[in-house]
């Protein structure tokens, strides 16, 4: 009998201990966004916003194949969008604002996670297999830096026109054609490298975003991987056909 009482008392103490830790869990005050899982959700959502823009931008680029007039008209239409509800050019600035916020969130979350990862392994391995999982996954961070540098160059080139041989904002088609002329092969080369980096980034990024937002079955994983690969290839090809068409003289 005495044994039994001791045993039930033991249970009681255990339960108290558990309820205490339970209360601690319930009353947490830290921001879930800053947890490693929350940061990944931020990366996923901001990444998907940026991807929507990439798709629209790529489709817009393809207008170059329907003629210089069409392409230039599309560029002007983007500035005209939303008028008279919005003053001229405002839509584009709203979009730029939204993209900038998404980009800032994406880079912020990536930096926080990269810093965490760095501090999580203070002593490196002397012998380490470089890749066992996915190559694209292992190159996300440096790939992201390359893409960011390219975006800066790209804006100075084809948005502001500072680094463009023509640099006339009223004639975007002429800017593009001058940009990828055969004698400026290094521009095409850099553009190609950046787009390939983007393809790798998206191949892992799109799949990873779905996982971060809760994709949780092996069948879904296969589908997500396939979809991400297909999407990355389609987007990269969509972007690359423009400079190569100019290089080969198909667009002038």
């Amino acid at each position: 009998m005495a044994m039994k009482t001791a045993e039930s008392m033991h249970w009681t103490t255990d339960l108290t201990a558990f309820s205490v830790s339970h209360v601690v869990v319930m009353s947490r005050t830290r921001s879930p966004i800053r947890s490693t899982v929350g940061l990944k959700a931020v990366m996923a959502v901001t990444g998907l916003v940026l991807v929507l823009f990439l798709v629209a931008h790529m489709l817009g680029n393809l207008k170059i194949f329907t003629g210089a007039e069409d392409f230039d008209h599309y560029a002007h239409w983007l500035r005209d969008l939303g008028t008279p509800l919005l003053p001229y050019g405002w839509y584009l600035w709203l979009q730029r604002g939204a993209l900038l916020i998404a980009l800032a969130g994406h880079i912020w979350a990536a930096t926080m996670l990269a810093l965490r990862a760095r501090s999580a392994r203070p002593v490196r391995y002397a012998h380490r297999k470089k890749v066992q999982g996915s190559y694209a996954a292992r190159t996300m961070r440096w790939g992201g830096v390359i893409i960011a540098l390219f975006v800066i160059y790209h804006i100075l080139d084809l948005t502001t026109g500072h680094l463009n041989p023509v640099g006339d904002p009223s004639r975007p088609q002429a800017n593009v054609v001058a940009d990828f002329a055969p004698e400026r092969w290094y521009v095409t080369l850099f553009y190609t490298l950046a787009v390939v980096a983007l393809g790798f980034h998206l191949r892992h990024g799109a799949y990873s975003a779905l996982r971060s937002l809760g994709q949780q079955t092996s069948q879904g994983e296969r589908r997500a991987r396939g979809l991400a690969l297909l999407f990355a290839v389609a987007l990269s090809v969509g972007y690359l056909v423009v400079p190569f068409a100019v290089l080969l003289g198909l667009v002038s």
């Binding site: 249970w11 255990d14 339960l15 558990f18 309820s19 830790s21 339970h22 601690v24 869990v25 319930m26 009353s27 947490r28 005050t29 830290r30 879930p32 947890s35 490693t36 899982v37 929350g38 940061l39 990944k40 959700a41 996670l113 965490r116 990862a117 501090s119 999580a120 392994r121 203070p122 002593v123 490196r124 391995y125 002397a126 012998h127 380490r128 297999k129 890749v131 066992q132 999982g133 996915s134 996954a137 292992r138 996300m140 892992h204 799949y207 990873s208 996982r211 971060s212 937002l213 809760g214 994709q215 949780q216 079955t217 092996s218 879904g220 994983e221």
Partner: protein, 251 residues
């Protein structure tokens, strides 16, 4: 077989540590990797040197005690195998083998190849339990569990907590372990009442222990001796996001 071993030697937590080269001779291809280290240690002991410290217990691949980086692979080159179940026939005569401890801030080196994995216990303490006393195993028909859920829960429950996922992760993340421990409870009826507080508590403990974040690189699942699938982490992510949504404004 004759081999050259390059082993991480570290006298204690404060020591800087270094790789030391040891030749070993007449190793049988039928020995396990740990038996090969036993041979080396016997020789070192006879010579009056300090034997190489490494963790091990069951040597049957089910306890999760052993584990070391072997030529940059957690648990060595053979998939789905712990270091104790790895046999020397996986290596070639004359080969040089690099042996290092798990590397993670959350797993400080105690000595040589032994690391302190208390951080995993802290993750469990963060919520990896069911508070209601459930007594002995219930009658199987009392609480029906869908076959798919039972299988997935069992798959996760196979985790032996060896730490290979952390060791292989480029981010030093313990997310595969945490996800396995979340999943084995979140799929069963006994785990439902605390499902959402559990995942938040365990992720908080994981982050506090100094592990990195998961970037879905997939290195962990490749080296996992129990083959815990990567999509287990998606289950954790979903529960975590649901828990966050449920608790908005309440905490």
């Amino acid at each position: 077989m004759n081999l050259t071993l390059r082993i991480w030697r570290q006298t204690g937590p404060e020591d800087k540590g270094r790789m030391v080269t040891y030749p070993v001779e007449d190793i049988s291809p039928d020995m396990s990797f740990l038996e090969m280290l036993d041979v080396l240690n016997e020789r070192l002991t006879l010579a009056g040197e300090e034997p190489v410290a490494f963790d091990h217990d069951c040597r049957e691949g089910i306890c999760g005690m052993c584990g070391m980086m072997i030529n940059g692979n957690a648990h060595g080159p053979q998939r789905g195998t712990t270091a104790c179940q790895l046999h020397m026939r996986q290596f070639t005569d004359g080969e040089t083998i690099d042996i290092e401890p798990w590397r993670a801030r959350a797993f400080p080196v105690v000595k040589d190849l032994v690391v302190n994995r208390n951080a995993f216990d802290e993750i469990i303490a963060g919520g990896g339990f069911v508070t209601a006393p459930t007594g002995s195993a219930p009658e199987a028909h009392a609480a029906p569990v869908a076959k798919a859920d039972a299988d997935a829960a069992f798959e996760s429950a196979a985790c032996i907590g060896c730490g290979a996922c952390v060791a292989a992760c480029p981010n030093g993340s313990g997310m595969l372990f945490t996800a396995a421990k979340v999943t084995q409870l979140s799929l069963l009826p006994q785990g439902q009442p605390e499902r959402y507080t559990r995942v938040i508590g365990m992720v908080d403990s994981h982050d506090d222990a100094g592990f990195g974040g998961c970037t879905n690189a997939g290195e962990c699942t490749v080296v996992c001796p129990k083959g815990i699938p990567l999509h287990t982490i998606g289950r954790l992510n979903r529960d975590y996001l649901a828990a966050t949504a449920k608790h908005t404004g309440r905490s």
